[in-house]
Amino acid sequence: MSKQTEEVLIDVRNVNRIYYDTTGKETIALQNVDLEIRKGELISFIGPSGCGKTTLLRLIAGLDLPQSGSVFMENILIEKPGYERGYVFQQAALFPWKTVEENIAIGLKARNIFKQKKGHIKEYIDMIGLTGFEKAYPHEISGGMAQRVAIARALINKPKVLLLDEPLGALDAFTRIDLQNTIRKIWKDTGTTIALVTHDVDEAIYLSDRIVIMTPRPGKINEIIQVKLGDKRDRNDDEFIILRRRVLEKLELAGAHYTSKLNDPVELSNIRWPGEAI
């Protein structure tokens, strides 16, 4: 951790989160997790399913609470969700009865500042490149467009941190890359802190300043990798490929058991191969 002087936005301190299923069997989703997220950085969480990356994001959002330990934002304990921490879910979860424009406006309405701020809606529609679709209903737009709306919906509140929970997980490769560029652009333009959960190694390297590698059962942080690739990132760059190999190796060491899962077609389909053309 070389940049300790930088201002800390989110502080996760010694957090434990255990889930119990109906039979009383316990799953340790997070064990003794410590993490600092700095103001303005783009940090991503990567790891196999069950490593607690989504749980961690939900704890930061305030959608879930830890059994022990605490999560702070600017030294204030996070106890419940709030608009300062925007959250984008894997399924865009747009409200189907509202148009694109109305979905984006919800944050303003929920905070009773719709009248003062409604002029901003257009700005955010432009930012995500959905001009012309303002009056469309969610069932009329594609999955990628819906995810863009979900991002704009969170951004209109000018959150201090934008939490993205595998927002591109359900999209095809073309849409995914397109949206990765959009996310990076939004990050550059707005300066918002972004925390991204992903299972795509390339996505993590392409977007992040730091990559948090997590291990499952019990879920904990294995290593945090600094990505020093600069602004222009090329997925076929030598440094990129070296970093990709390093992350993949870490994931294998981190208990992802990729080799043993090669026989499992479901697991196999979740693996993003480094050699795969994107």
């Binding site: 979860a93 009865w97 509202k98 944050g107 309405k109 209903y137 969610p138 919906r153 969170a154």
Partner: protein, 333 residues
Amino acid sequence: MEKTIKIKQVVSDIDVNIYWKPKSKIWFFASVAAVIVALTVSIFVPNVQAVTNLPYQFFLVGFIIVLSVLWVISQSVDSLRKILYQKSQFFFAVGIVLAVWDLLSTKSGFLQIPFFPGPAQIINVIFTEREILLLSTYYSMRLFFVGLISGILLGIITGVLIGWNRQWNYWLFPVIKVTGVIPAVAWIPVAIVIFPDSFSAGVFLIAIASWFSVAFMVSTGISSTPKVYYEVAKTLGAKESFLLFHIAIPNAVPDIFTGISTATGFAFLTLIVSEMVGAKAGLGWYINWAKAWSAYDKVYASIIIMAVAFSIILGLLTIVRNYVLRWKKGIVK
């Protein structure tokens, strides 16, 4: 070559789904001819029963005029032409049935008065009794709407309470579940005792009939709101009341309409039965009164009025529903 095949495929898909009946002009002209046949029968075949044929003949002429006007308009309106031609076979059958029915009743006496009057007789009764029928329809509709709307409002309020609040759910849901299965007309004896007049008793019965189905569907809709919607709203800064009024209730709107459709059916039934039992006005009362005089032509006349009125109400409900639920996939073409 490939292109033409594809286009043909698309057109035939639409035909199969909506306009699957023959679209040739022949059936349209056949339908007009059938109505003309019915008119000819009425004018030229001598009556056996003593019936005034004139209103019926006017009706048939009106039918022909409407068909012709629609045909003229449809020559420039594509969608109307398709619908008109699609319905042509049915109109043809209507004309034939009217002619045969007329022959069997008024013209031959095979179907006997008073129990099985002919079309001329029924339409004549609608014409001569128009004032009392109109008044009866007005009273029925007034009772119907006051009862149904209060039932729907009560249903929405209780449904929201049951679906949203645990305490209300605990106390009210069992009540709704048990009383909801009782046909509202079973309360008629109670309603007569409690309420000062037949109108308020009728409102009570219709409201009860529609209340439960709406309440049940609304509570289902509210409690089935996906959890992720609430989470999204909370991370956007929403308070409890916002979650209820902007998330849970809009999410329940399709279910509210399902409840209202069911409620409307129950309300029709309750309306007519309660009017038959206690009221001194309305279509249900009129049927009962006509039956007492063995005036079956009047019974049929009021049944026809009911069919028309209720179809219009259901049609309007569908229009409102399609407009309100325009955000839903597959509802709007």
